[in-house]
Symmetry: none
Subunit: 167 residues, 2 copies
């Protein structure tokens, strides 16, 4: 009951982060296992690519649980999965438990801070900090946050262009 990055559901089930993501992604649009892999790779800038030995067995498991259904579209023997109604319900339930996930993320963050300390400040870390600022902004401020970011992007692009040295 006390494991990290596992989200428990109403019924006895547990869902991992990938698991949750799969539901979320299939909710937006039905797709294949391969699509999911690519999507996650892109989302994480290639930092995390789930193994095929993870995603495909998981899809089959979700199918058995009646969470998703294959919509066999012939070409290239690929299997497009979609959420069932049960799946939609399960996803909604999970999303209502937002705080649970938030708590888990926070825990990881705390441990990380405990180990590495608060110190700074590589370029990359500055980006993450910026991210920290905006993620908690209220809705009405988002537009202005957006503008500030655009300005920052422009400045950086400009910097990048002056004297095109490839290194």
């Amino acid at each position: 009951m006390k494991s990290i990055l596992k989200y428990s559901t109403q019924d006895g089930h547990k869902r991992s982060l990938i698991n949750l993501y799969v539901l979320h992604s299939l909710h937006r649009e039905p797709k294949t296992g391969y699509d999911l892999l690519k999507e996650i790779e892109e989302l994480t800038k290639g930092v995390w690519v789930p193994s095929k030995g993870t995603i495909y067995p998981m899809l089959r498991q979700l199918e058995e649980q009646g969470i998703i259904v294959p919509q066999e579209t012939g070409a290239r023997a690929k299997t497009i999965y979609a959420l069932t109604e049960n799946g939609e319900t399960a996803l909604t339930e999970m999303k209502e438990r937002r705080h649970q996930s938030h708590e888990n993320v926070q825990i990881i963050r705390n441990i990380h801070t405990e180990i590495f300390g608060e110190g700074r400040a590589s370029l990359a870390e500055n980006v993450w900090e910026i991210w920290d600022y905006i993620r908690d902004h209220s809705h009405d401020k988002q537009k202005r946050a957006q503008e500030i970011l655009m300005q920052c992007k422009d400045d950086l692009r400009e910097l990048g262009e002056e004297g095109e040295t490839v290194e």
Copy 2:
């Protein structure tokens, strides 16, 4: 090579978050497996308690790797572990890779936001774009990039502070 919450070392090894934490904690003070369990439980306010079937085998593994040594102090058959010199080195190396861990944590947060955080997607995209820009900057430009980022952070912080945001 592309798994989350695994930190690769100079040698071929991989370390998990717990693994890293154990090194960090034993560095500060030698202690038993049980102590480590309690410590983590406290640190995470009881949200995460690693299983004994996790911690003890791990300690033995670390011992085999010459990272830690048991300092048998008789009473109650308990085994107090301490970092070896190799362990200290390994820890230092890991800490130098701060950014790697930071990146991993960020990935998790990002996925979390993708799933739970409606409406913030576009903001996230901007952050990623900024990330892309600075990543490719040559060394001599980094300092100026840093300044631009600091400016951006300050602006955002200011935005955040004007009028108490509740969300």
